[in-house]
Structure formats: structure tokens, C-alpha cells
Subunit: 237 residues, 2 copies
Amino acid sequence: MASTHIFSAYDDDLKFLSRRISEMGGLAEQMVGESVRALVNGDTALAQKVISDDVILDHAEREIGDKAIVTIARRQPMASDLREIMGSIRIAADLERVGDLGKNTAKRVIAVQSTGVPRKLARGLEHLSELALVQLKEVLDVYTNRSADKANAIRERDNEIDAMYTSLFRELLTYMMEDPRNITSCTHLLFCAKNIERIGDHATNIAETIFYMTTGAQPEGDRPKDDSANTVGAVTE
Amino acid sequence: MASTHIFSAYDDDLKFLSRRISEMGGLAEQMVGESVRALVNGDTALAQKVISDDVILDHAEREIGDKAIVTIARRQPMASDLREIMGSIRIAADLERVGDLGKNTAKRVIAVQSTGVPRKLARGLEHLSELALVQLKEVLDVYTNRSADKANAIRERDNEIDAMYTSLFRELLTYMMEDPRNITSCTHLLFCAKNIERIGDHATNIAETIFYMTTGAQPEGDRPKDDSANTVGAVTE
């Protein structure tokens, strides 16, 4: 009886971690979507909401870290459970960073608001964030299902986001060159585009962590990267 | 005898972690210094070295994480030792990010090289990186001495880096507005300045982790931030 009790308490600890991670993922997705919406619409109230929400993610990351450590110290888990718990810490850190990137975009809404975001650039930013959000959503689904194969497939797809970022980077430079009055706001939009591009990198990190959690191995081969192919040098991480 | 043996093996584990973190810190500092030197001098060979060195930091972070977890699982440490070990994981992650930021600056050397970096901007970037490196060096010293008071003092000083970044941000915008031919290279320099500014944030994170490791408490009050004070809106993290 006692051992069943311990076993199920342990199981509860693991469930707690994965539930909290899914919640963090949902909030991080929402913050990213809202930050881009606030930017495109010049909606400072929505931007302020994103900035406030970030505290919730920070708190959740800390809570997951504390719970993970207490679980390791108390239950002395076997190798695969240990990977599971360590993976939680890593994924929580990546999601916390995604929230920070959303917050950073939200902080730029005021700086950009006075000039507004030209329609074509707005569409570009929205498209980029859609790609990043699909990537994030899929990796969170893979986390729920623990599929190593699918984790690897997501990792391959970050190139699409990088290519879209490069094209947006070029377009922003063109706007700046056409009219110096665009320079300040376009600079902020460049940082926003970079923030969104980096969300793809965090989704890739999470995919790699899930691969490690389920297989105990690091994914094979380098992460696909293609920095040198573009002539303007829109350097991705 | 047996318990002495276990105790000293445990002590060795902790020493291993702190030695590896100090080594990571030394390499991260070196990479940041070299990346700015490469940028200012258009030295692509040095930039390439920084890019290659990043693999060493990535490897060290993984090694520290693995060692930390094995130590927790094997020795079931008490609260203060647990904080020490957890702190190692966090600090290693921050130092790995500092290396990434150095690498990202190094990657931009080629894009900037054709136009070169104007003397005044070069001095600004060097000054910013000196501030960030002092911050990083001091926080690594505090890590060696485990002083909670000093950790808190470092945390206060990030504002100086933010102010310097804001002034550099303004200057870069001015260069772009004066001559559209500066736009591409100045955009890369903006990202480089941002990379350096963020090193200060990681030093602040490390200071907070050390405070937590030594006291078991989070530092009091919000992190000092002053984003709204500047009119160009050089948004810091």
C-alpha cells in the first residue's frame, strides 16, 4: 500500500510538471499572437496586457524549476524519468524566453505607433508570426504525445521561418532607404521581426529537448541553417 | 571511512561544477571581447574563431547540466546544496547565451566589413562592450566568493549599460538618416549593440542566481529598468 502511495504521488509530480508546461505554452502562444496584433493595429492597451502577462510566465517557470528539483531530490528517479524532469526545466526556460520576445515586441508598439505600420510590412509580420506560432503549436502537441519522429520533423522546418525573416529584413531596409522618415519605426519593426524569428529557434530547442526526453539521445546532425545564402546578410541565430 | 569517502566525492562534484562554470565564464568573456574586436577591425578570421569557440560553450553547458542531475539523483543533497547545484544549471545557461550573443556579433562582421565601422561608432561599441565585460567579470568574481551583498550591487548597475546602449542607438539612427548608404551596415551594428546590451542582462540574471544560491531568497524589488525615459524608444529587454 505504502509503495503504491509513493508511486502515485510521484506520478502526480510528473503530471503536475507536464500540465504546467502545457499551460505555459498556451500563454506564450497567446502573448506572441497578441503582441503582433497590438503592433499591427497600434493597440497600446493590448500591448500593455502582453507586458503584464509576462509575469505569469516568469512565475510558472520558477514554479516548474522548484517542483522539478524537489521531485528529483525526493524520489531519486530512474534515467528516463530523470530525463523527463530535466526536459521540463529546459522547456519551461524556452517558453519563458518566448514570452519575453512577445513582451519585447509589445514594448515597441508605442515607438512604432506614431508612424503606423505600412500595410505590406504588417502582412509580412503577420505571416512570419503565423509560421512561428504554427511551429510552436505543433511542438507543444508533440510534447503532449511524446513523438520523437515528429520532434525531428519540426526541427527541419525552421528554415522556412528564416527565409521569411530574410525577405522581411530586405523589405524593411528598402523602406528605410526610400524615405529616412521611416528609419526609426522600421528599426523597431526589424527588432520585432527578429523577435518572431527567434520564437522559431525556441520551438526548435523544444523539439530537440523532446527528442532527448523520449530517446535519451541528441538529434543527429547539425541544426539546419542557411545564413550564407542571402546577400543582404539577414543573420539568424 | 565509507561516509568520509562519500562526503569527499560529493564535495568533488560541487567543485567540478564551480570549476567548469568559471571556465565557461572565462571563455564567454573572451568570445565577447574578440567579437567586438573582430567587428571594429573587420577581422573575419577572428570572427570565425569566435563562431567555432561557441561549440565549446554549448558542450560545457550540457556537461554541467548532466553532472548536476547525476549529483542530485545520487547524493540527495540538502536544501542549500540543492540550491548550489540548481544555480549551476542556471548560470551555465546564462553563460551559454552570452556566448551565443558573441557568436551572433561575429556573424555580422562580414556584412559590416565592406563599409567598415565609422570611428565614432566603433568607440561607442567598444565602450559598451567594456561596460558589459566589467559587469560579467565582476559577477564571475562574486560567484567565486559567494557574496550576496555584492551580487545585489551588480544588479543595480545594469542601468549604466542601458543608458549607453540608448545613446548608441540614437547615434546609429542619425548615421542612417544622414546617408542611406549607411543603412545596411548600421542595421547590423544596431543588432550588435543590442547583443552587447543583453550581455548585461545575463550578468544581472547571474547576480540574481548567486543571491538565491547564498540566501535562499529572491532579490527584493523589481529589477531597475528605465525604458520610458528616452524619447527614441531604444527598448531594452
